[in-house]
Amino acid sequence: MTRGLGVVLVTLALLAAVAAPMVAPNPVDAHFAGLLNAPPTIVRMAGEDHAWHAPFIYRWRLVSQLEQQYEEDRSAPTALAWFSGGRLVGSPDQAAPLLLLGTDSYGRDVFTRLLFGARTSLGLAVTAALGAMLAGAVLGGLAGFAGGMTDDVVMRATDFVMVLPAIYVALALRSVLPLVLTAPQVFALLAAIFAVVGAPFVARGVRAIVRSERQLDYARAAQALGASDLRLLIRHLLPAAGGFIAVQMTLLIPAFIIGEATLSYVGLGFPDPVASWGTMLHDASSNIRVFADFPWLLSPAAAMFLVVLGVNLVLQNASRGVKSIL
């Protein structure tokens, strides 16, 4: 049952990322200048006249400029527009936007940015995990197959990287490059860094599996039939490690999501207009008290929690004996 919940959470997150432009109620770069730190709009069906209506919203009216307090303007309800303008749902009135999770301090829709941020954050984590898997499988396969010196060198190197705190390695590698980079550069750079940090976790397990599988009859039979070393490794031995690689890769994804968030939070991640879960938290981080006044700004953290929880639930039993990077 809990596993089912995990599958639902992960699927929802992936759907949000893929369908972001269609589900998002507002354009991702829209600034609502009169609605800084506005709270979430409440979608209502019961009107002032005590009758049921199609879902509608009231616009926010600023009552205190200093404290950024808003109240609903009950005089003019706006009916939501469904399936118009290529969006699932939205508000036809620009002055009364649908803000499901409120706005940030620049007046940008948090819910929309959360969906687009899922693209950046999840996309980066999955790309990096694929990279870590490739590098880890190659290194682990080589070390386990060749043995001797190669094995020693690879294993010492992975030992060394694994013993270091992952976030410091990422931090040091990130800050070697110019502090200000474009978004695609940051994406490629972070993916490469995370792959380097994550690869040892894959490599160690693959090496152990390749080493023990190599002694088994089927591997010896393939060799006796004239299979080359490369064929033996790729066609016979690495597939045996497939299950382990899949589990380990999935375990790396939450770690990479958090890694991106940490680096972006401290200002070494994606540049400003790009929406990612980490940059959304960064925008609010100048004064930590804003989270207390405008709790909806914490929604990227909640989204991360749900995704990590989903992955953990899916892997609950599969991950025994696999080391975690967190």
Binding site: F291, M304, I325
Partner: protein, 322 residues
């Protein structure tokens, strides 16, 4: 055992030297240096050259590294350009703050996680172990970054606890120590909660495996009371796999404390390192990295030796593998 200890000690030394050298090299390779970062783009070339000469940044990396190594041998870790003070004066206080935070978190996590793991691992069914397990799975999905954000939110909302820094500006009634404890609650809990969850899961798994062994059945058959079996016989066997994890925890403890230090403005090594990296203060970067590596090396050394003392097979097996 002595050979094993010597081997681990050599690795610890290598770790500290390699990490601080690598970080010096990396921050030297980075584009820009402290002078360009601090003076900005509009500074005249002459002013830049003058500053570079003052800090010795105009030499080749080889010469700089050689001088640095020589001075490190005399326990002089260079000069922080950012703080205009020797690195040696800056690091100990920050390192002590990180140690306070990390050790408090580790002790709390152990005191909470391990007993709960014993309880939930020794009973298969039951409401209590189900509740413990659910709490653990939830907390496991909240790494320190998220936990500290949520705790800061809760603390700021209720106003019960301070959310930032390590000490109040004015020492309140109750003295400085109580003040420190109050500031410590949020950051330490942010690290300890996920860690406790991890220890609980590991301990529960180890306990469940030990309880399935024949010697436990034999004890039950002899009429040994249940609590005695769990808290004496089985516990001894089940502590070993958990003790083995402590060497690996140190790394994640430092990783976790980095995020927490930045969020709660705890004046530790992590936030100093971040500052040094951003301003390209190379010697400070190397000093912080070296101090962090020293932590790590001591932690793994102590846990390796403790483990070898509990379980002699470890040192034999590792010595063979090494």
């Amino acid at each position: 055992m002595i050979r094993y200890a010597a081997r681990r000690l050599a690795f610890a030394l290598f770790l500290v030297i390699a990490v601080s050298s690598a970080s010096l090299l990396l921050s030297r390779l980075a584009p820009g240096d402290f002078v360009t970062e601090s003076l900005g783009a509009r500074a005249s070339r002459q002013a830049i050259e003058q500053q570079r000469a003052r800090f010795g940044l105009n030499r080749s990396f080889g010469a700089q590294y050689r001088d640095w190594l020589a001075s490190v041998a005399r326990l002089d870790f260079g000069y922080s350009m950012l703080y205009d003070r020797p690195v040696r004066d800056l690091i100990p206080e920050r390192a002590a703050n990180t140690a306070i935070l990390a050790l408090t978190a580790l002790v709390c996590a152990t005191l909470v996680g391990v007993p709960l793991g014993i309880v939930s691992g020794s009973r298969r069914g039951g409401l209590l172990s189900a509740a413990i397990r659910t709490a653990s799975v939830v907390l496991l999905s909240m790494p320190p970054l998220l936990t500290s954000l949520f705790l800061v939110f809760a603390a700021a909302r209720t106003g019960w606890l301070p959310i930032a820094g390590m000490r109040s500006a004015t020492v309140p009634a109750g003295g400085g120590f109580m003040d420190l404890i109050r500031h410590l609650v949020v950051p330490a809990a942010a690290i300890a909660l996920p860690l406790a969850a991890m220890l609980e899961r590991l301990q529960a798994q180890a306990m469940a495996e030990v309880i399935a062994e024949p010697f436990v059945l034999a004890a039950v058959a002899r009429g040994v009371p249940r609590s005695r079996i769990v808290w004496h016989g089985a516990l001894k066997a089940a502590l070993r796999p958990v003790a083995a994890v402590y060497g690996l925890i140190i790394g994640s403890l430092l990783s976790g404390s980095f995020a927490v230090e930045v969020i709660t403005a705890w004046p530790g090594l992590g936030s100093l390192m971040l500052q040094a990296l951003r301003t390209r203060d190379v010697y400070l970067v190397a000093g912080c990295a070296g101090a962090g590596a020293l932590f790590l090396a001591c932690g793994t050394l102590v846990s390796d030796l403790a483990l070898a003392a509990i379980d002699p097979r470890t040192s034999d097996a590792r010595a063979e593998a090494a």
